[in-house]
């Protein structure tokens, strides 16, 4: 029983992080029809910046305090800021060009960001593993589980709710959806498309950065984490449907559970199984579970 509870919680934990990455990826695609290959690097940036900020405070002898958790947000803010700079400078000139070029420039960005993080923070992982211990752990249905991980699950849940409310319940959300459905029409109706694009991109990057920031105390900020995360996020959006927020949520939960099962029962082919699931979904439902073709 308690192992089952643990597995479920672990799955939700993965799903929370994956959702935050995939949600940004799918939002950006949904609005501007760009697949950002550097999206995983913004997730890594979130992890590095929050790890760095916390590292500055962690002088020998100081104990981590509760308010340090707030500093994790620094990673999300940094990723959002990076997004706000990158969209107008690098992506905007390419909207009218062929898809190949859009993919390629984000690939170039991936190479640049990957090494920038290496340059600034060096080859060694950053982490602040003492932080989660502050929160202690709880016993749920007989299983002991760290409270920090529960917090991560909760943040994922709040992020999903927040994005949903934002997109479906605010005026900005209406504009966003209108732009995503018909950019020309929206522009003709007086929507400032440039501003919508930069806002959507920034929001997407914020979510990725948040995911990176909150996983950092557990798995650290490591080189290559962005490239690895992107591929998993791809699996999520392919299953859920590129451009669909509901799809990102369901996809993240599916991938979260399959990963947990995989680690237990078929560790060697866990990734292969995930990619195969994504492939089968694309074959059966080309637009993904929630996508519109």
């Amino acid at each position: 029983m308690d192992t089952l509870v643990l597995q479920v919680l672990n799955s939700l934990f993965y799903a929370s992080i994956l959702f935050q990455i995939a949600c940004g990826l799918t939002l950006i695609y949904g609005v501007m029809r760009i697949v950002n290959l550097a999206h995983g690097n913004l997730y890594a940036l979130g992890a590095y910046v929050s790890g760095w900020v916390l590292g500055l405070l962690a002088t020998p002898g100081t104990q981590p305090r509760m308010w340090f958790f707030v500093l994790l947000l620094a990673g999300a803010v940094a990723a959002a800021a990076a997004g706000a700079i990158l969209e107008p400078t690098l992506l905007r000139p390419l909207y009218k060009r062929a898809e190949e070029y859009q993919l390629l420039i984000t690939f170039g960005l991936l190479l640049i960001l990957e090494d920038l993080m290496h340059m600034v923070w060096g080859p060694h992982p950053l982490t602040s593993s003492a932080l989660p211990d502050l929160l202690g752990s709880s016993t749920i249905l007989g299983a002991t589980y760290p409270n920090y991980n529960i917090l991560v699950i909760a943040i994922g849940f709040v992020a999903a709710l927040g994005v949903w409310a934002f997109v479906y319940r605010t005026k900005f959300g209406v504009i966003l959806r209108a732009t995503s459905q018909n950019m020309r029409m929206a522009a003709a109706l007086g929507v400032n498309v440039k501003r919508v694009y930069v806002q959507a991109f920034t929001l997407g990057c914020f979510l990725a950065g948040l995911g990176g920031a909150i996983i950092m105390p557990i798995s650290g900020a490591v080189l290559g984490m962005g490239i690895e995360a992107l591929i998993l996020a791809f699996v999520v959006v392919v299953i859920g449907g590129l451009g669909s927020l509901e799809g990102a949520l369901v996809g993240a939960i599916i991938v979260g559970f399959v990963r947990t099962l995989g680690i237990m029962y078929f560790a060697e082919i866990e990734l292969a199984v995930l990619y195969l699931i994504a492939t089968i979904v694309l074959l059966v439902r080309p637009a993904g579970l929630f996508g519109r073709a």
Partner: protein, 326 residues
């Protein structure tokens, strides 16, 4: 056209044949790497430039070619290069036939992502099934024999790689260029270009679009696989890195660097990228950063690549000379 081929190809062939006598061994080996990547890029560009499909998963076929040779060494004790090439061709044909069958059901970004996802199945298997594939350590491939031992391949490895193996690479490269040139100028090649330009109309003149895309995918994968097979004895080792998706990104990069709208673009791009990368790697540990900047500048400023830009320049010069008053 025949004349054009002779005026361009003949001098280049002579120059390439003379390389081992002119350049030091290290440079010759470096050029071998470039020519091998050119074969991969030629295959890749049959899809991108001629069929209009951007694969972000061509590392798969390169890797299959490389691992096919490595498996022959490890599990059959075979070290003949002819067997490597045959095994690489068969293995990459099989894998690209299956992957292609799945991928060509989609176009545009979905095709790219599907190709990428499938390639990562192989990557994760190569990484995780370490008792078969050697995991991150990869598999070693020794100096191969040539023509069943008729050609001396023992002795100094550097001499072998910079002489005998260079010529082998050059011959395979020459054949690959000729075959690909024929394919893109064949009625089949025209049909691919028609699909690229206008899928619906191609269907309505009787071209079975999906089938032709699949055949193009198969040919493309086999060329890239062949490159992987040739690469592995030169490198001496294959690791899952050649299956990882950033390597697919490199193949896209070098093709666009040369210019994917021309036949020779990928060849020029592959050789140029190879020099650029080895120079960047020698210069700084942050070579990825350097390559990233080159790529961004390329996309923003020179989208038609080296060959495309050169021919535009030549066109402009010719026009301005034409318009000059006598």
């Amino acid at each position: 056209m025949r004349q054009k081929v002779l005026t361009y190809a003949a001098p280049i062939a002579v120059a390439l044949a003379a390389v081992p006598f002119v350049l030091p061994p290290y440079q010759t080996i470096l050029l071998s790497y470039g020519l091998i990547m050119a074969i991969a890029a030629l295959g890749f560009n049959l899809l991108l430039g001629y069929t209009g499909l951007l694969s972000f998963g061509h590392s798969a076929y390169f890797g299959v070619g490389a691992y096919a040779a490595a498996f022959l060494v490890k599990y059959a004790g075979i070290t003949s290069i002819e067997a490597f090439l045959l095994g690489g061709l068969i293995a990459s044909a099989l894998v690209s036939a299956i992957f292609g069958f799945i991928c060509v059901r989609h176009t545009r970004i979905f095709f790219s992502i599907l190709a990428l996802a499938l390639s990562q199945v192989l990557w994760s298997l190569a990484l995780k099934l370490f008792w078969v594939t050697g995991g991150t350590d990869g598999l070693r491939v020794p100096t191969p024999t040539l023509l069943g031992g008729l050609v001396q391949t023992t002795g100094d490895k550097l001499v072998f790689l910079s002489r005998t193996y260079y010529y082998l690479v050059l011959v395979v490269f020459g054949i690959s260029v000729a075959v690909m040139w024929l394919i893109v100028h064949s009625p089949f090649g025209k049909a691919l270009q028609a699909i690229r330009d206008n899928e619906t109309r191609a269907e309505f003149v009787g071209v079975e679009v999906r089938k032709y895309r699949w055949i193009a995918f198969l040919v493309s994968g086999v060329f890239t696989g062949l490159a992987g097979t040739l690469w592995v004895p030169l490198n001496g080792l294959t690791t899952p890195d050649v299956l990882y998706w950033p390597f697919s990104g490199e193949i896209v990069f070098l093709t666009v660097l040369g210019g994917f709208r021309t036949f020779s673009g990928p060849i020029v791009g592959a050789v140029a990228f190879n020099y650029l990368k080895s120079y960047a790697v020698g210069l700084t540990v942050y070579w990825q950063f350097l390559l990233g900047v080159v790529l961004v500048v390329l996309v923003l400023a020179l989208p038609s690549g080296i060959v495309g830009t050169l021919s535009q320049l030549r066109g402009r010069l010719a026009r301005s000379a034409w318009h000059e008053p006598a």
